[in-house]
């Protein structure tokens, strides 16, 4: 979409409201990454995430007249994505953990950092209850502060803070447990070698 670089979000929104499909396409291109990523982390399933992201943009197409500005659009997309994802998880609870497909898709992205730890974090995140997962995603993926998260998810700010605190504590504890388990395995692997070595 060439219009994406040339136009500001506000201009694209105005053109899309006037019925220009190309402008709407540019808006989709501009926001698809954020919407799809939120859906993927919430549902842990690429196909379900893509389907949900498409439904969100379809709903946006239907109610574009109610969107006032570019900032409102970002807020609207996050809100609708999260509420739809939570609803879907309530209707059809999925297995927790990251699927092979997602792991394969993400493997190419982990150019820096520790890919194993990142995968483990994503897997642990998928084990959180849907509301807590939504809070953590909006905080660390979308970089929203607790007040903005509370507005997006329609929950009290204190609840948001409580979800964040408990989720971080759980993640820290599980990561530490996993690290301790890995260290134990490494020690057990190392010991037979020492036995075989000459005195």
């Amino acid at each position: 979409m060439s219009g994406d670089e040339e136009c500001t979000g506000g201009e694209l929104l105005t053109q899309a409201l006037a019925g220009e499909r190309a402008a709407f396409g540019a808006l989709v291109c501009r926001h698809q990454r954020a919407v799809y990523s939120l859906a993927l982390r919430m549902l842990s399933d690429r196909h379900a995430a893509e389907d949900l992201a498409q439904e969100v943009f379809l709903q946006l197409y239907r109610s574009l007249a109610s969107v006032a500005s570019e900032a409102h659009l970002s807020f609207w997309l996050r809100k609708v994505t999260m509420h739809r994802a939570i609803d879907r998880l309530r209707r059809e609870p999925r297995h927790t953990g990251v699927g092979l497909e997602e792991a394969a898709a993400l493997a190419g992205e982990a150019a820096e950092g520790d890919p194993i730890l990142e995968r483990r974090l994503r897997s642990l995140l998928a084990e959180l209850p849907s509301a807590a997962r939504a809070v953590v995603l909006l905080r660390y993926q979308e970089d929203l502060d607790p007040v903005e998260i509370a507005r997006t998810l329609k929950m009290p700010v204190n609840t948001v803070k409580s979800h964040l605190r408990r989720s971080l504590a759980m993640l820290r504890e599980r990561i530490a447990d996993a690290a301790a388990a890995d260290a134990g395995v490494a020690t057990r692997v190392a010991l037979p070698g020492e036995d075989r070595s000459p005195p």
Binding site: M1, T14, A16, L17, A18, G19, R21, F24, G25, V28, C29, Q32, R33, A34, Y36, S37, L40, R41, A49, E50, A53, Q54, F57, L58, Y61, R62, S63, L64, A65, A105, L106, E109, E112, G113, D114, L117, E118, R119, L121, R122, L125, V136, L137, Y140, Q141, D143, L168, L171, R172, I175
Partner: protein, 113 residues
């Protein structure tokens, strides 16, 4: 430790691309939808005129309501004045009639024979 975990979470939650054909799929789905949103956005001038018109309507409505109230008050006062006048006239007539009756009673009975 806390900041380290937060940094790692941010790294683990880097946004992911849905694929090259995502927007095409969305547009294909929207093509089946009627373009019911194709409402041109209101320009600031139109919005200003709308606000002015609305304010004028409110002021005119208030003025009309005030005038109606004043007229009702005046009608009430006029009715009150007319009632007092009618009572005053009635009082005068009754007084006159009373005086005539009293004079007839005081007159000697043989004066008319």
């Amino acid at each position: 430790m806390n900041h380290d975990l937060e940094r790692r979470l941010r790294a683990a939650l880097r946004p992911v691309d849905p694929g090259d054909d995502f927007s095409a799929k969305v547009l294909a789905r929207t093509a089946k939808e009627p373009a019911h949103f194709a409402r041109p956005p209101r320009s600031p001038a139109v919005a200003g005129w709308l606000a002015f018109g609305l304010a004028t309507c409110v002021v005119l409505g208030l003025l009309l309501a005030h005038q109606w109230q004043v007229r009702r008050t005046q009608q009430g006062l006029e009715a009150r004045r007319q009632l007092i006048e009618a009572l005053r006239v009635t009082d005068q007539k009754l007084d006159l009639a009373n005086r005539v009756v009293n004079e007839k009673e005081r007159a000697p009975p043989d004066s008319g024979a």
